[in-house]
């Protein structure tokens, strides 16, 4: 099934929850209201016509004014794919977890939490995954400023070519 047809099916079922369907090439996507993502996911997963049995990718993007969580769904039965998006405010972004539908979401959501600071409600194990537990801030946000030292290890290095240290210090100032 074409991705756009899938979005139409979803829209039929949840007319007020699908905020936007973008037909932009190369990959069209549908933006879904944050409170409906579990219901939409459940629908796409259980409906035999769509049978989205695999969450092939889940990631977050920081757009400076908002944070989007992107879900790439895939069906091994029908070999079709679709993209869902959830737009969240930058201050304290929170969305329900889809871990119950696709177990693969467990780790991907931990990664998004770690790097972008999106909270997933109802997640079974919401800890940092890649960064150390005591790391300040969320590194993949656009306004992230690197700390100058970590446990006594300085993160700047005198570099004759790049003068990165200066740049970093400048950022801090």
């Amino acid at each position: 099934m074409e991705a756009l047809k899938i979005y139409e099916r979803v829209k039929e079922r949840f007319p007020d929850k699908v905020l936007e369907v973008s037909e932009k090439k190369p990959d069209p996507f549908a933006a879904v209201a944050a409170d409906a993502i579990v219901a939409v996911g459940r629908l796409l997963h259980d409906d035999p016509e769509t049978a989205m049995d695999c969450l092939s990718n889940q990631t977050g993007v920081d757009y400076k004014d908002r944070i989007e969580v992107v879900y790439h769904l895939f069906s091994y039965k029908h070999h079709h794919t679709c993209v869902l998006k959830v737009k969240l405010p930058r201050e304290n972004p929170t969305v329900a977890t889809v871990e119950e539908i696709w177990r693969a979401a467990n780790w991907m959501e931990r990664e998004i939490f770690d790097l972008l600071g999106v909270n997933f409600d109802g997640h079974s194990d919401m800890r940092r995954i890649l960064m150390p537990e005591d790391w300040p801030g969320y590194p993949l946000r656009k306004d992230f400023v690197e700390p100058l030292e970590y446990h006594g290890i300085s993160t700047v290095r005198e570099s004759p070519i790049l003068r990165l240290d200066q740049k970093k210090k400048h950022e801090h100032a």
Binding site: L130, P139, F144, I153, R157, S159
Partner: protein, 165 residues
């Protein structure tokens, strides 16, 4: 005893030092400590073509039995703390070869927020091997350089390292 007294001290100590150093340099057991890309080249260095065991260097899994730590790859800040712990576990005398640009100075990943730019910020390094990743031949050369360095040491006149608190 009287025979020994006729020989100047430095002859005995230098010759003994030389023997001990020769033995020590010929048996540098390195710790299996592959961090990133260079780990694969480290394996290749121990592999059939550039067999590093020719120089008596065998890989050991435990830090307690190794003399040499080859830091092969990018040292992240999260790992740096662990590396320091591992280094403290090694018994003296111990050496470090920093293998690859990442552990020399951060290399490609100087731009990164989570990478320790150079292992020398955390640990004392004896030999730097440049390359991204260095070829097995380069690492072997690094080992030979370390052997040269060991030959210049005076083991009998060494200073005991104070116990770390």
């Amino acid at each position: 005893m009287s025979l020994l007294n006729t020989i100047p001290d430095y002859v005995i100590t230098t010759k003994t030092d030389e023997l001990i150093n020769w033995m020590r340099k010929s048996s540098l057991w390195y710790m299996l400590f592959g961090l990133a890309c260079c780990a694969i080249e480290l394996m290749h260095t121990g592999g059939p073509r550039s067999d590093i065991e020719r120089f008596g260097a065998t890989p050991r899994a435990s830090a307690r039995q190794s003399d040499l730590m080859i830091i092969a790859g990018t040292l992240t800040l999260k790992m740096a703390l662990r590396t320091r712990l591992l280094y403290d576990q090694m018994p003296d005398p111990k050496y470090i070869i920093s293998m690859g640009s990442c552990s020399n100075c951060g290399g490609l990943f100087q731009l990164a927020y989570s990478v320790c730019d150079g292992v020398d910020k955390v640990l004392p390094v004896d030999v730097y091997v440049p390359g991204c990743p260095p070829r097995p031949e380069a690492l072997t050369e690094g080992l030979l350089k370390l052997q040269e360095k060991i030959m210049t040491e005076r083991w009998l006149a060494r200073e005991e390292r104070p116990a770390q608190v």
